[in-house]
Symmetry: C2
Subunit: 243 residues, 2 copies
């Protein structure tokens, strides 16, 4: 994710908290929101590090461990990482800070879709996310089949992320993402399409051409899961976002 | 401010950082954004505390001091408080943490408007903000005259904030805020209208009736000032937001 997606994650979390209060029949009051912190720290590119395998894989881990440690020191009980690719290091992060629950975005999405009775989905994500089979594994564990884009379509997604959203060229991002989403829908019918990189929703939301598609935003599912944890306890909650 | 306005402040800060990079002719890269933290902690209602004067005034201060102390402990060099009314405690907060620069929203806005050659403005704010003359003082110091809404209009602003934005009733907020803004414009002509409470822009932006008015969003000015501080140094930056 980039910092814009991190900012958007706070918005989704606040929305999810308000929704929780409404569902519980409680008035939405400022003071009824749980304490929460957002950490946005520079982290080397995750997809790049996963490509370079062993020699590069430790580079994103160090700043993520530091940020998580500081969130833990603030008293966070649960932490959501608003970057899909960063979940390649989820196991290590969780292991090093057992006192904090580090939510796993793909497992939350898989549980959410399984609960809705879905049996198959398509996945738009970064090369790094595909490489570590982040969603494929979590979806398979929940009994869902996962369709991936073709290589040329994956390249289009990467272009929309890096040359589009991250570089501030929204029209390019919209063109790349919507073409891939439409092709997936053409091939697989009206199945749910998981936007498995936080930059994808920023470039797909509001695009007229994809209005009929069933787009799933993992950040929204993750924010809702974090809000559920927040209202299950009383301690502060961290949202760790990595730029 | 409420937590929704806090989330929006991060978005404005990230936007201001990207704008800074573009102005400097640098590519907008995720890793070029400065480290920043958002603290959102429950704080008793500020306007209410200021009304109850001495007996209530310490209540918002304690959690704000705690949040600021924790941001300072994280190594923050500059902190922006994304709540106008909370600036009633600015002096104490700054005094207690001299190692951190606590930005002052009204002084930043006054400097910004003076630099643009403005000589008079109108102010939409909470009763608490009027009570401590937050903007009136800062604007006067910068040589600007400040027009306040009439008592019935102030009541409308408060209603739009509390029963509108904070309670999730956006249409009510839009009706309250736009009526006051239009009345101010009718009385004072095309002067700048400072939206001196973070809930006001959330209820006025995009309202067709006020499209021609010159609305100034202090959160945007403050976010831009915080980004300037961030790129002037290398240490982390805190954005303390109080719900």
């Amino acid at each position: 994710m980039g910092p814009a997606a991190g900012a958007d994650f706070v918005r989704l979390f606040v929305d999810a908290c308000a929704q929780h209060m409404r569902t519980m029949g409680e008035p939405v009051r400022d003071q009824a929101f749980p304490e929460h912190w957002l950490a946005q720290v520079p982290v080397p590119d995750r997809s790049g590090a996963l490509e370079r395998a062993d020699e590069g894989a430790h580079q994103p881990l160090e700043p993520m461990l530091q940020a998580l440690g500081r969130l833990a020191a603030l008293g966070s009980r649960a932490v959501a990482i608003a970057c899909n690719t960063a979940h390649a290091w989820h196991g290590t992060l969780q292991q090093r800070f057992p006192q904090v629950e580090v939510l796993h975005v793909a497992r939350e999405v898989a549980a959410h879709l399984a609960a809705q009775g879905e049996t198959q989905v398509a996945l738009m994500a970064t090369e790094g996310t595909y490489r570590v089979r982040l969603y494929e594994q979590a979806l398979a564990d929940a009994g869902l089949q996962c369709h991936l884009p073709w290589p040329d379509e994956r390249a289009l997604v990467m272009r929309g992320i890096y040359e589009g959203v991250k570089a501030g060229d929204l029209p390019l991002a919209q063109a790349c993402f919507s073409e891939v989403a439409l092709r997936l829908a053409e091939r697989h019918g009206r199945i749910a399409i998981v936007m498995g990189c936080t930059e994808v929703p920023l470039g797909l939301q509001g695009v007229a051409a994809v209005r009929g598609l069933r787009l799933v935003d993992p950040a929204r599912v993750l924010a809702s899961a974090l809000a559920d944890r927040a209202y299950a306890g009383t301690s502060p909650f961290g949202s760790s976002a990595f730029t």
